[in-house]
Amino acid sequence: GCSNSSSTSSSASKAVKLPMAYNNKAATDKSATKNGTLKLAIVNNAPFQGISDPTLASNNEDAQAFAPGGQNSLFNVDKNYKIVDGGLANQKLDRKAKTATITIRKNAKWSNGSPVTAKDVEYVYEVLGNKASTSQQYSSDFENIEGMAAYHKGTSDTISGITMPNGENGKVAVLHFKQMTPSMKFSGNSYIWGYIEPYEYIKDVPIAKLASSEQIRKNPIFTGPYKLDKVVEGESTSWSPNKYYYGKKAQIGHITLNVVSMNNIDKALQSKKYDTVAPSVAGSLGSTDYKNLKNLKGVTKVGQPALGYSYFAFNLGHYDTKTGKNVQDSNKKMANKNLRQAMMYALNVDQVSEKFGNGIKWRANTLIPPAFSKYYDKSAKGYPLNIKKANKLLEDAGYKKRNGSKWRSDPKGKKLVIYFGAMTSSATTEATYQDYLQQWHKVGLDVKYTSGKPVEMNSFYDTLQKPEQNKMDIWLGAWSLSSEPSQSQLYGDTAPFNMGHFATAKNTELINKMNDASAWNDKTRTKTFKEWQEYMNSQAGVVGEQFNYAWQPVNNRVKGFDLSPANTEFYSNLTLTSSKLK
């Protein structure tokens, strides 16, 4: 298989190396494939919502549950998630005319046999931007399309910036932008929506009611290799080949996807109830699962670095609601860079990862995960354990133990208590929090949990999303990322998600540079990313904690399993080598 495993840096040396694909040498059993059923598990504690349309859904489970239908995604990508030709549609960007031209392939059809049209491409923006839409996917970035803002406000019924030169039933749609950005070249960018809607099929349903309609929930249609046979609400979907599919024909007779709770998934896989879990870029299985399943017979483990990471962030300022900007305050408790760096050096993330990560997790050395192989700076050092350095940094900055106290006080001699925010989680994760607190105590920092214990996720973000808060000085969060690596939504000076309010001129400059004219040049863009990573590490405003593998065991009867993003015919490529799951 095309082992694309990326992490070779020292910090990741203890990580396991998993192939992205399971290169099954056994011969395909034609009849087993044709008559058999591929059983996939969706790992989730709740039933899936059942919204087949990625434009309306906002969760991973639905995406997994309806994945064999191809998700109605428009473009093929390469391993760096860059849009390439050959998919349902091709995209052509014209920087001068500020347009993106989307051309649908001739033989593209919905699973009910009707052709895919330009209107389908246009309509998705109507759904997305509609004032009454329940979709959470709309963002102000879309207002870069001419007329989108007016449509979103409701002052216009149509989006003037989307044209269909050959009419609604033609195959070409053109998007007119106010400004072009390099991120448009990548799937998952926030300007061009990578999915379509079956206009003819759903046009009668008011957009506000779309998410609860039969067309979306019970009998949705798709453009992918499989068509939906049945959906058991919240529990399972079953699929069979879609004869209208334009690409490689699906081979397996039936695919079923079932929701299995996190608690049960190991046992379910061990008892061979499923071939594998439904693939997901964020990864469904964790490190404990890996430990439990790594010796399981009859399966092969595959994986790729996940699109996500966990991080420590410091509370450095506030969000000015008037100007819509993040502002750093120099009098914040954590404003001292030495203090932040010392706290990071005090941590034994490597040790923790080794013990609990089981090779599936390793210390994050930067804020760009290795999944973005091109931008990821594998040489970055990050913050390995270095108690001595931590102590020195603190001493230098004047954080000293005074009056025989066991804790350090701040440079002014005032008592220093640092509040650490963390979300309730599994026993292992909470054990890790404890370990971190102990590490900080070792360097004499009095770090305590905000409100005495890890808090529930909602309360956690409730606190953080306030424009200004003083309850958490440092916290541990996690992001799962879009396949487009721009950082403006997370760390930009206007980003509301920049909850630590880290906003320096340099940071703003670098982030802007990722998407400005210079970035059309891939090399320059890569350089900018690396520069930014270095800068972020040096400032220690936000520091990566861990990266992880999105891994899964695949039953040895499955053939053609390849997780690479470039494998655009993922479901079509699957076959079975035996009719029985064992």
């Binding site: 059923t37 504690n45 709740a46 039933p47 919502q49 059942g50 919204i51 309306l56 906002s58 004032k131 009454a132 329940t134 959470q136 996917q137 709309y138 963002s139 102000s140 970035d141 998952g188 926030s190 998410a211 609860s212 929930r217 049945k230 058991v232 609400e233 919240g234 529990e235 399972s236 979907t237 079953s238 039936h254 079923t256 996807l257 079932n258 929701v259 299995v260 709770s261 049960n264 046992k267 379910a268 061990q270 008892s271 529930e456 996720m457 909602n458 309360s459 973000y461 409730d462 999303q465 992001w479 799962s480 990322l481 879009s482 939504q489 997370l490 509301p496 998600f497």
Partner: protein, 319 residues
């Protein structure tokens, strides 16, 4: 009697109103909002605010409550934020699962409990009685979910006899196979729930039968020359089963309570699991609706018990 039932239902109304306000306020008091959970770089906070506003989540609570009540009178409990579909439909589909399981558990409970209770009482103080009593004590003391967890482990995984998640197999064809598959899925949770639920019924029935055994009318029956077998059949069991029949209504409360655990352990998509999920998603509309529904079901349970009792027991006739 109909009048009394009607009156009881009318009395329920203020209770339901108070509960609805209470739940409404409590739900709103929970930290976070339905969109906190969607925090990810792909979501634009502006859009989330837009959605919050669109759903009136920034209105004062009484305004929200009033809107909710107005909708309620149109048979509309609002939309689930998480599931993006009407709460009525969402709960409707989950309720079916919960009710199936509850019904099955109830039936099994009585199937287990009646013979046990009677047998224990008939052989009061003897070995079988002691065994049954120890059984009830032990099940009384073990937390319900421990029974479930151990049951799943043994019968679901180790022996692999029963499915461990879901309510129906994805491959089951409609018609008979689908009913069969549903049944197969509720078998294990039903049995485990029943094993747990028997405790109360067994103890209650046992003491009822023992009381009946010593009653004067049983002595009268003996003096009529009624054989022992028939005395049990016509007098003792009949008389002690009546209050048990009424117990069925009250047991709804226990079943609903148990559904939170059963459905969590078995990932069984019913109302209990929905509730647990909705809590972490702050799906206000669903939380409010579920608490209300559970409350109303509890009320109906007690009403049902009273009605059953008044039907079966000639001494109690509610006018």
């Amino acid at each position: 009697m109909w009048k009394t039932i009607l009156r009881r239902i009318l009395i329920m109304i203020p209770e339901v109103i108070i509960l609805s306000i209470l739940v409404f306020l409590l739900a709103k008091a929970m930290p976070g909002d339905p969109f906190t959970g969607s925090i990810n770089p792909k979501a634009d906070p502006a859009q989330l605010h837009h959605l919050m506003k669109m759903n009136g989540l920034y209105d004062p609570w009484y305004q929200q409550y009033w809107n909710w009540v107005v909708h309620l009178f149109h048979g509309n409990l609002g939309n689930s934020y998480q599931y993006q579909e009407p709460v009525t439909r969402l709960i409707g589909s989950r309720a079916v699962n919960t009710l199936w399981l509850a019904l099955f558990t109830t039936i099994l409970t009585y199937c287990f409990a009646l013979p046990m209770g009677m047998y224990a009482a008939k052989h009061e103080g003897k070995l079988p009685d002691s065994i049954i009593r120890i059984y009830t004590y032990v099940t009384y003391c073990i937390p319900f979910f421990v029974i479930l967890v151990i049951g799943v482990w043994i019968f679901g995984y180790v022996l692999g006899w029963f499915p461990t998640t879901g309510s129906i197999s994805s491959t089951a064809a409609s018609g008979l196979p689908s009913i069969g598959s549903r049944f197969y899925h509720i078998l294990l949770p039903g049995v485990l729930g029943a094993l747990f639920g028997t405790v109360n019924v067994v103890q209650y029935l046992r003491s009822e039968v023992i009381d009946a055994k010593r009653s004067d009318y049983v002595r009268t029956a003996r003096s009529k020359g009624v054989p022992e077998k028939d005395i049990y059949k016509h007098h003792i069991f009949r008389n002690s089963l009546l209050p048990i029949a009424a117990f069925a209504g009250y047991s709804i409360t226990g079943l609903l309570n148990g559904s939170l655990f059963t459905e969590t352990v078995f990932s069984y998509p019913g109302m209990g699991l929905l509730f647990i999920n909705s809590i972490s998603y702050r799906d206000y509309t669903v939380i409010t609706a579920l608490v209300l529904i559970y409350g109303i079901l509890n009320l109906l349970g007690t009403l049902l018990s009273d009605i059953i009792l008044s039907i079966v027991d000639p001494r109690i006739r509610i006018q």
